[in-house]
């Protein structure tokens, strides 16, 4: 085991993939010689060189479009989009090309492509550099979507994504870069479509993703210590596929469900979770499902406004208290 932060785990995960599989190449803007715009890919260019780590021109369409073409030759590209928001620049490639290649070729085309992007709010990057788009991406059939909340999952989910024969999008969160954890030194993977229970509890289930996981865990600790409420926290980890079983088993025990989402409310990933539980676990519930989300506004730049927009442990605690 080695203690490592989330930022370092990104480079570690990509490095492991490059080391263990010659077909893996890594491409993106500023990822090579400079070690990444967030210093999350330091050392890869030095170890693997320009054959396998490509500093690309500033063109997101080409990054994803060419990575798709490279994947069709049998390479296993890991393409980085600097900010999740810039997936908007290459949306055709993501939503129309990559996601539909297998289906529209009757299964003849394989696009074993990983797209990674740094997303999320909390660091004062403003409306066009802070979004969480798990919900947009999960609405597109043909791509898998995961969002790690811990260093171990950064490495494990990336390993699973690289091994997967289908395109996978991994959304890493900028606000988690300094989170530390022990990670195994030997190869391992965390399967896509499996949630992780971060804290066990009996009174209600909090489902969270990415940077909302530590928020939910912190809220659960406060609820326990100050209000005697025992909350279970499920880290969904991947939204496509969704680990419905873990979710339903938990709600069956707790009979209450609250989602904690960084996206604005309409069509957030939690709406899908709520709908699954309403359909398949209705009889488990003692109360209506609740959702804590960001406000329906673009992420503001000012620190105090950004803070007001995004859920935090306090807003979650208050929501639970008015719920129970």
């Amino acid at each position: 085991m080695t203690v490592m932060n989330y930022r370092k785990a990104i480079a570690e995960g990509i490095g492991r993939a490059l080391r263990s599989d010659q077909r893996v190449v890594f491409l993106g803007e500023d990822v090579g010689a400079a070690g990444g715009a967030f210093k999350s890919t330091v050392g890869l260019y030095e170890e693997f060189g320009p054959d396998r780590v490509w500093d690309t021109p500033i063109s997101e369409q080409a990054i994803v479009g060419a990575a798709m073409g490279a994947a069709m030759t049998g390479l296993r590209p890991i393409a980085e989009i600097m900010f999740t928001d810039f997936l908007g620049v290459c949306w055709d490639m993501v939503a129309n090309q990559v996601a539909k290649a297998r289906y529209m070729s009757g299964g003849q085309l394989e696009v074993p492509l990983v797209i990674r992007a740094h997303g999320g709010a909390g660091l004062g990057f403003g409306a066009q550099h802070s979004q969480t788009w798990e919900n947009l991406l999960m609405s597109i059939p043909g791509i898998k979507v995961a969002a790690p909340s811990t260093p171990r999952d950064v490495i494990g989910l990336l390993a699973a994504a690289v091994a997967d024969p289908d395109p996978v999008i991994l959304l890493e969160h900028k606000a988690l870069f300094d989170a530390k954890e022990d990670v195994p030194d030997e190869p391992f993977l965390e399967p896509l479509g499996s949630a992780s229970i971060r804290r066990t509890g009996d009174d209600l289930t909090l489902v969270a993703l990415s940077a909302m996981v530590p928020v939910a865990v912190q809220a659960a600790a406060t609820l326990e210590a100050e209000h005697g409420i025992s909350a279970e926290v499920i880290d969904l980890r991947s939204v496509t596929p969704t680990d419905t079983a873990t979710l339903l088993q938990s709600v069956e025990r707790t009979s209450r469900l609250m989602t904690v989402e960084e996206n604005p409310r309409p069509c957030g990933w939690g709406a899908e979770i709520a709908s699954i539980v309403a359909e398949e676990g209705f009889t488990f519930l003692d109360a209506p499902i609740q959702r804590v989300t960001s406000a329906n506004v673009p992420v503001p730049f000012a620190a105090n406004l950004e803070h007001a927009t995004i859920p935090n442990a306090d807003t979650v605690v208050k929501a639970v208290l008015s719920y129970s």
């Binding site: 030095e46 060189g49 320009p50 500033i58 928001d85 329906n296 503001p300 208050k318």
Partner: protein, 403 residues
């Protein structure tokens, strides 16, 4: 790390060299750039004032305004550099979230900015503080934007200066559409010099790799739109050198899109003025777009969060310091006896006052009210938003009760 970046451009194999067919030697294909790009000699930019401060003639471009105008430029250059330095310092003191320095690019911005008329319209990136100055935007607005105290900051229609754009390249398309609107307003090619207008779209060398920018070139070309595409080639896109974006000098790309391109010494304020003015004249009279490549150098970091020593050599910086955009104007004024000590001292004083104004003004900018996050999403608030706002107000009130 920095060595390898530079070693690359030195050892570029010819593009014609067949890539190795065995193994994974993709470096031959993907690695180095063409040495022609970094060779400045073959593609001499338009220059009217040398780094030593000597005037030069050019067959196609001339600067024919008097020395009082040049003294005005000098003032603009010095004050712009001061605004930039103050903002950088304020960021270091935690007063701004981030700042994108323009250090080294003052002449490109003042030359082009002063060539415009009030009727022209500007679409900037995030680094055009000197152009903002020329357009009469209060620099405190720029600080407010980077401090994050409000959305926007200035009214684009007041100074014909659009808001900063940070998603690379998007503004070139907005510029093109705006120029097409001008065509329909009848303010292009009317023959009235006070009425005819054009758009200037600013962007960087890195942005030229974006699809948006290339699509803007095509549109402006086929619609003959009055756009001056003003590219500040500062040699870097964050950590990526120009070799990563182009194998030919950028201005030469314009030819393929069907309009003229010209490379100008971006550190020469007179040449930048003359070239932009000619391009604007062409656009306003209805002759279509021009690509201006202002060849310059980003002397600072990409932004205050960037550390350029990670990826580039300090020798380059030293080389470009000799071409400083301000020093050459001063040398010209001093050598010709066109400005005395009192003139320079006066400007220094003005810069000091500006610094104080910005330091005090920045700290005094009020923090926005939390409830304002719900404003300006739509003209008319949706019922869902109104309900969220009410809930949030109740949540905020719950803290007041706690005291």
């Amino acid at each position: 790390m920095t060595d390898s970046v530079h070693a690359e451009s030195g050892t570029a194999p010819g593009a014609a060299e067949a890539p190795s067919t065995e193994g994974t030697d993709l470096g031959v294909v993907f690695g180095p750039g063409s040495p022609a790009v970094s060779d400045e000699s073959g593609t001499a930019p338009v220059q009217l004032l040398t780094p030593e401060g000597e005037r030069r003639e050019h067959p196609d471009y001339s600067f024919d305004l008097d020395d009082e105008v040049i003294k005005g430029f000098y003032r603009d250059l010095v004050l712009t550099r001061r605004i930039d330095a103050e903002a950088t310092a304020l960021q270091r003191h935690g007063e701004l979230g981030i700042w994108a320095q323009l250090l080294g690019q003052e002449a490109a911005q003042i030359g082009s900015g002063r060539a415009m008329g009030p009727q022209d319209f500007v679409f900037p990136t995030y680094r055009e503080h000197g152009v903002a100055w020329c357009r009469g935007v209060d620099p405190l607005h720029l600080l407010g934007l980077f401090r994050g105290v409000d959305q926007g900051g200035w009214d684009p229609n007041e100074n014909n200066f659009a808001l900063y754009t940070i998603v690379i390249g998007a503004q070139t398309l907005h510029a093109t559409g705006y120029a097409m609107g001008m065509q329909r307003d009848g303010v292009v090619g009317s023959g009235d010099p006070d009425k005819d207008a054009a758009v200037v779209a600013y962007f960087g060398d890195g942005a030229t790799s974006q699809g948006d920018v290339n699509e803007a070139f095509i549109w402006a070309s086929v619609f003959n739109a009055p756009v001056v595409f003003f590219c500040q080639n500062n040699q870097w896109a964050i950590s990526e050198p120009i070799e990563r974006q182009s194998r030919i000098p950028l201005y030469q790309r314009a030819h393929g899109f069907g309009f003229p391109g010209v490379r100008v010494d971006g550190n020469d304020v007179l040449a930048c003025y003359a070239v932009t003015q000619a391009a604007l004249r062409r656009a306003r009279e209805g002759s279509g777009p021009t690509f201006v490549e202002a060849y310059t150098y980003r002397m600072g970091a990409h932004t205050t969060t960037d550390d350029p020593t990670r990826y580039r050599l300090s020798e380059d910086l030293e080389h470009w310091k000799l071409k400083d955009p301000i020093a050459r104007v001063k040398a010209y004024l001093v050598r010709g006896g066109l400005a005395d000590d009192a003139f320079f001292a006066g400007i220094e004083q003005e810069a000091e006052a500006m610094g104080e104004h910005l330091r005090e003004g920045c700290r005094a900018l009020p923090d926005p009210s939390p409830l304002s996050i719900f404003d300006q999403v739509f003209v008319e608030q949706t019922p869902e938003l109104a309900a969220q706002k009410e809930q949030f107000a109740a949540y905020l009130a719950s803290f007041e009760g706690a005291h």
